[in-house]
């Protein structure tokens, strides 16, 4: 992993590789999410308890997974930025934060809409719901902190430390439903004794999850590439101003 990060650390090489990856990721994301949605919303049988409400899961669960995956990516990038000072890692972590915040928002809202008919409440302060809300605030804090200093490097460092420290929340989210009595049900897919979700419902869920992952890659590449270009423009303008003066 470190060697991969090191080899990607050169912006020029990153631009070259990402130009190849981008169209594939875009096609994958569109195809998988398109197929997954039709599969999940039309063809999947209703659940024996929840009926059609179960279809919320096909958006809620992938969004919730991505909200955590996105944060894990940011934490790894932040470690790389803090130790090896890769400027591109800082840029990628900044680019990742709003995407992660968006995934978390989707997970919170869809979960709330599912909770009302199933549990009888939109929101309860149980350990899983609360720890995901904390994750959402960590994303907001990261976004605010990374732009809080005039010196970009200082802002990046402060935000990177927040990202690394906040990573402790990820195992808390994952295991909250096992450590404590919560309203939220325990894990159905990623558990020791195998999934407790029927295969006719599991496959479309996995397709959606793969589609969401590809979608994340698409958004991340767009954000990183445009930020790299914005910085190049900045440098060129500074050069021109220096020449003109």
């Amino acid at each position: 992993m470190p060697s991969l990060l090191h080899s990607l650390a050169s912006p020029a090489r990153f631009q070259r590789i990402s130009a190849h990856v981008f169209p594939w990721a875009a096609v994958l994301a569109t195809g998988l999410i398109g197929c997954g949605l039709v599969w999940a919303l039309v063809f999947v049988p209703p659940d024996y308890q929840q009926g059609d409400t179960v279809r919320v899961m096909y958006v809620h669960v992938p969004a919730a997974w991505m909200s955590m995956f996105c944060y894990a990516v940011m934490a790894v990038l932040s470690v790389s930025f803090l130790i090896w000072k890769h400027a591109l890692a800082d840029l990628a972590a900044r680019a990742s934060a709003p995407i992660g915040a968006a995934f978390t928002t989707v997970a919170l809202i869809t979960g709330s809409l599912w909770g009302k008919p199933t549990w009888g409440t939109y929101w309860e302060w149980d350990a899983r719901l609360t720890s995901v809300l904390v994750l959402f605030f960590l994303y907001l804090g990261h976004m605010a902190l990374s732009n809080a200093f005039d010196d970009r490097e200082r802002g990046g460092r402060a935000a990177a430390i927040l990202a690394v420290v906040g990573a402790i929340n990820l195992p808390i989210i994952k295991f909250s439903v096992e450590w404590w009595n919560t309203l939220h049900q325990p894990a159905s897919v990623l558990r020791m004794d195998g999934p407790t979700i029927h295969s006719s419902m599991l496959w479309p869920l996995l397709v959606m999850a793969a589609g969401f992952t590809a979608f994340y890659v698409v958004l991340l590449l767009i954000r990183i590439r445009s930020e790299l270009m914005a910085r190049r423009i900045e440098v060129l303008q500074r050069h021109r101003a220096a020449e003109g003066a």
Binding site: I83, P117, W119, T121, W179, Q185, P186, S188
Partner: protein
């Protein structure tokens, strides 16, 4: 030691200290983080009258009774080891039925009487399957209601 190694060390020890601190806080908070008490918890440590708590458990088969006023329901909650009678006035969630895991929010008005709930939440378990599969399982006799953790 190079600067890179020093930074790595700072980051690792810093994170390790923070992780230990968090674990200690979570251990100290254990009772407070718990969303609901189980009937066994109440037997082991009875709560004061009128103290608002959440009580979670499975609805005992055959214990659900509608009172003559039409909106009050009484039932018994169990976790397999202990049982607590509950009385609730209001509309029950769709998933409420015998054998279902639920959480009741309320208090004991007096030490001897039933738990009086003013809110009942249905707890969904982690099992998802199509209706036909559930019916087939029930027919084959492999059905078992999931016990509370």
């Amino acid at each position: 030691m190079t600067r890179k190694q020093r930074r790595t060390m700072f980051l690792t020890t810093g994170f390790a200290c923070f992780a230990v601190a968090t674990v200690l806080v979570l251990f100290a908070l254990e009772d407070k983080v718990t969303f609901f008490y189980s009937p066994s918890d109440l037997v082991a440590e009875p709560v004061a009258p009128d103290l608002r708590i959440r009580l979670g458990g499975l609805v005992v088969d055959g214990s659900v009774m509608k009172l003559s006023d039409g909106i009050t329901t009484t039932f018994v909650l169990t976790d397999g080891a202990a049982e607590v009678p509950v009385s609730y006035t209001g509309v029950l969630p769709d998933l409420f039925r015998e054998g279902q895991g639920i959480i009741a929010n309320g208090s004991f008005p007096d030490a001897a009487g039933p738990f009086v709930a003013d809110e009942v939440l249905a707890k969904h378990d982690e099992n998802y399957m199509p209706t036909e599969v559930a019916d087939a399982l029930k027919e084959a006799g492999h059905w078992q209601e999931e016990p509370e953790p």
